[in-house]
């Protein structure tokens, strides 16, 4: 059936190998009908941004448990803006203390999901964020 699917890149930036969360989220997004481009471990911000552009993704989800979240979020958002792709939704999760979240949102992250967030919350949020983004395009 013809329809515009939500395409989302799920990536693990950096060297952190804990991918349980990324994989669970990827599956949940798939089960919600989205097309999930999964890039695997050890992605540089440049690779992630390039992937997002090549895949015409609506959004990119990044998972970081190594404490390097501020570095990667800012870098990825910055690169997207540089490529004139600041409209692409950036969201993520991992081991991220609450006190760091406002900074990430300010930098341009759409949402940051802490440990224990149900995947359904993440799915609903993303569906709405993509719908809003597409409404703006028209």
């Amino acid at each position: 059936m013809d329809e515009r699917k939500i395409r989302v890149v799920v990536a693990k930036p950096g060297l952190d190998g804990h991918d349980r969360g990324a994989k669970v989220v990827a599956r949940a997004l798939r089960d919600a009908g989205m097309e999930v481009v999964y890039t695997g471990l050890r992605q540089t911000p440049e690779q992630i941004v390039e992937t997002v552009l090549q895949e015409d993704a609506d959004a990119v989800g990044i998972s970081i448990l190594s404490g390097a979240h501020t570095f990667y979020f800012t870098k990825i958002i910055g690169l997207l803006k540089e490529k004139d792709a600041g409209d692409i939704i950036v969201f993520g999760g991992g081991v991220i203390p609450d006190k760091d979240i406002p900074g990430l949102l300010e930098a341009g992250a759409g949402a940051v999901f802490g440990p224990g967030t149900p995947t359904s919350v993440c799915v609903e949020w993303l569906e709405k964020a993509v719908a809003d983004k597409r409404a703006k395009e028209q």
Binding site: L15, S66, A68, G116
Partner: protein
């Protein structure tokens, strides 16, 4: 089983069935956290098949179900070993000395990710990662600082290092040299378990074949030169963290163990000898009874595997000795203080399961690296269990419990089924390559996530009994962002000061030997480390010769 009992039990069951019509139980069916069905009541008939001498035996005797020591904790407590390390060698050294002053009895070094994956701090891949999840080590110089004023002949040190384990072990040996401690006095453990990196943890570098060779090189070198060193810590911990069940944790860990024994035997090493230096590392999760049973089952299974499969007769090489860490994935970011309680129960399960050493997680680890205060509480938890709970005063107190013995049997049965399937596939390397292991773990992880979201599994503070809160006020540890820069500056100075010709020659020697399977790389790596070749330089040469691994995704 006598008839009187059988009749009485039948009568009891009938009575329960009747009352169930009026008062239902909380759930239709009950199961363990690992998904094993759990009955309402266990009795003598549930352990009818158990033969005490064959299946349980005495502590310190085959099949070691009751423990590896005859007196267990009446003789000596487990080693209280807290995994720690962050920022630079200087900061971590300070934390280690604090821990030692607080009564910790063994060190456990956490390295940062660039170190774990063989990159120096000045590598582009290391950007943003230096000192984040552990200490940044680039060269012997850092290692000297890390163990400054810590006598290597007095402490035992565990290092969570896998793909570049040879390099870090070589550095430790060289620090010993400088302190005047000979190799054969050093005691400790390197994790050195690459298979679970492919399966669950992700800090691999090289493809399986050369990785296995590095591991068996270490086995060989240490059995001759560092006899008190545990050359591998075969780890189920990360498999469990990635979402496996308890039975899978045991199965896949022991299957990894089988692969290592086979590889070493192929190299001509005697399992009766190197078998003594194999150690294991398990997770202590929430389901208390299942976890106790899991440890007991793992011990019995390994003894049987070593004896029946590899013909090992040396009891010390049949024993499964293990380290335990409480389950990191069970910690909640919500109401972090509750984690103290979770950790206590998990630690108790590990002790009742007969662990040889233990790391208790700190309550704030779902949010950040632990602060000094929370590390202190975690360590005190172990001390309270050791000194106050009383469970340490008799050996294997839960033996003979109908349910514990039944679950021990169940886990053994289930785990041997998995191992059988892996054998049929041609062994663990093939099973990993085909994604069999990863698939099972990911399915279990996804099932668990769904059961939490459907509230079939309850996590206090997360999907029930939530309170409004904010952890913004918590005093979390933050890693100084300048670690990377400081490390880079140190590296620059080091490269100016060292004998670069010696480094170049040492690296070329490694390159040549790497291409020749019959040579042992360990002495050459020690030589390179001694000349202050950096970890990144050594791993870079090996990357050139061995190539790099790409993960096998199964979703």
């Amino acid at each position: 089983m006598n008839t009187e009992y059988k009749e009485a039990r039948a009568k009891f069951e009938a009575g329960v069935a009747k009352s169930l019509q009026k008062h239902k139980e909380r759930k239709e069916s009950f199961s363990t956290g690992g998904g094993l069905p759990l009955g309402r009541l266990y009795g003598p008939d549930d352990v009818e098949s158990v033969d005490y001498m064959r299946d349980i035996g005495f502590p310190g005797e085959y099949p070691f179900t009751r423990g590896v020591q005859p007196t267990m904790y009446r003789g000596r407590f487990w080693t209280m070993r807290q995994y720690a390390g962050f920022a630079s060698a200087e900061e971590s050294n300070e934390r280690y000395r604090y821990l030692l002053s607080q009564g910790t009895t063994g060190l456990s070094v956490a390295f940062d990710l660039p170190t774990q994956i063989g990159y120096d701090s000045d590598d582009p891949m290391a950007q943003g990662e230096c000192g984040k999840v552990g200490v940044a080590i680039d060269s012997l110089q850092d290692m000297e600082i890390l163990f400054d004023q810590i006598p290597l002949d007095k402490v035992s040190t565990s290092m969570t290092i896998n793909a570049p384990a040879s390099v870090l072990l070589a550095m430790y040996i060289c620090v010993g040299e400088k302190q005047g401690v000979p190799m054969d006095v050093l005691s400790g453990t390197i994790q050195n378990d690459i298979l679970k990196e492919y399966i669950a943890r992700g800090t691999y570098i090289f493809p399986p074949k050369p990785s296995m060779r590095l591991i068996t090189d270490i086995f060989e070198f240490c059995s001759e030169n560092v006899p008190k060193w545990n050359t591998i810590s075969i780890s189920g911990y990360h498999i469990r963290e990635a979402g496996s069940t308890a039975a899978q944790e045991v199965a896949f860990t022991l299957a990894d163990g089988i692969a290592y024994v086979e590889a070493a035997a192929r190299k001509g090493l005697d399992p009766n000898v190197f078998g003594e230096r194999l150690s294991f590392f398990f997770n202590a999760h929430n389901d208390f009874l299942e976890e106790v049973a899991k440890f007991r089952a793992a011990r019995r299974m390994w003894a049987r595997i070593m004896k029946d499969r590899f013909g090992v007769t040396n009891p010390k090489a049949q024993m499964l000795r293990f380290h335990t860490q409480t389950g990191g994935s069970t910690l909640t970011a919500q109401q972090p203080e509750n984690n103290i309680v979770r950790v206590t129960m998990q630690a108790l399960a590990a002790v009742l399961g007969g662990t040889q050493s233990l790391h208790t997680n700190s309550m704030d680890e779902a949010l950040a690296l632990p602060s000094e205060k929370s590390v202190g509480i975690a360590l005190k938890t172990q001390q309270i269990i050791a000194y106050e709970s009383g469970v340490t005063n008799t050996v294997d107190p839960l033996a003979g419990s109908y349910v514990v013995e039944s679950l021990t049997n169940e886990i053994e049965k289930k785990a041997f089924e998995y191992i059988g399937q892996i054998d049929d596939m041609g062994g663990m390397l093939t099973a990993i390559e085909k994604g069999y292991v990863q698939k099972h773990i990911q399915d279990a992880a996804y099932d668990y996530q769904r059961s939490v979201e459907a509230k079939e599994s309850i996590v206090v503070g997360v999907n029930k009994f939530q309170v409004r809160e904010d952890n913004r006020e918590m005093n979390l540890l933050t890693v100084d962002a300048s670690v990377g820069e400081r490390q880079i500056a140190k590296l620059r100075k080091l490269k100016e000061a060292r004998d670069n010709l010696a480094v170049k020659n040492a690296l070329e020697d490694i390159r040549a030997a790497a291409a020749d399977d019959s040579r042992n790389l360990m002495p050459l790596i020690i030589n390179a480390v001694r000349s202050y070749a950096t970890e990144g330089e050594i791993c870079g040469v090996l990357r050139n010769v061995f190539g790099e691994y790409t993960e096998n995704i199964v979703l």
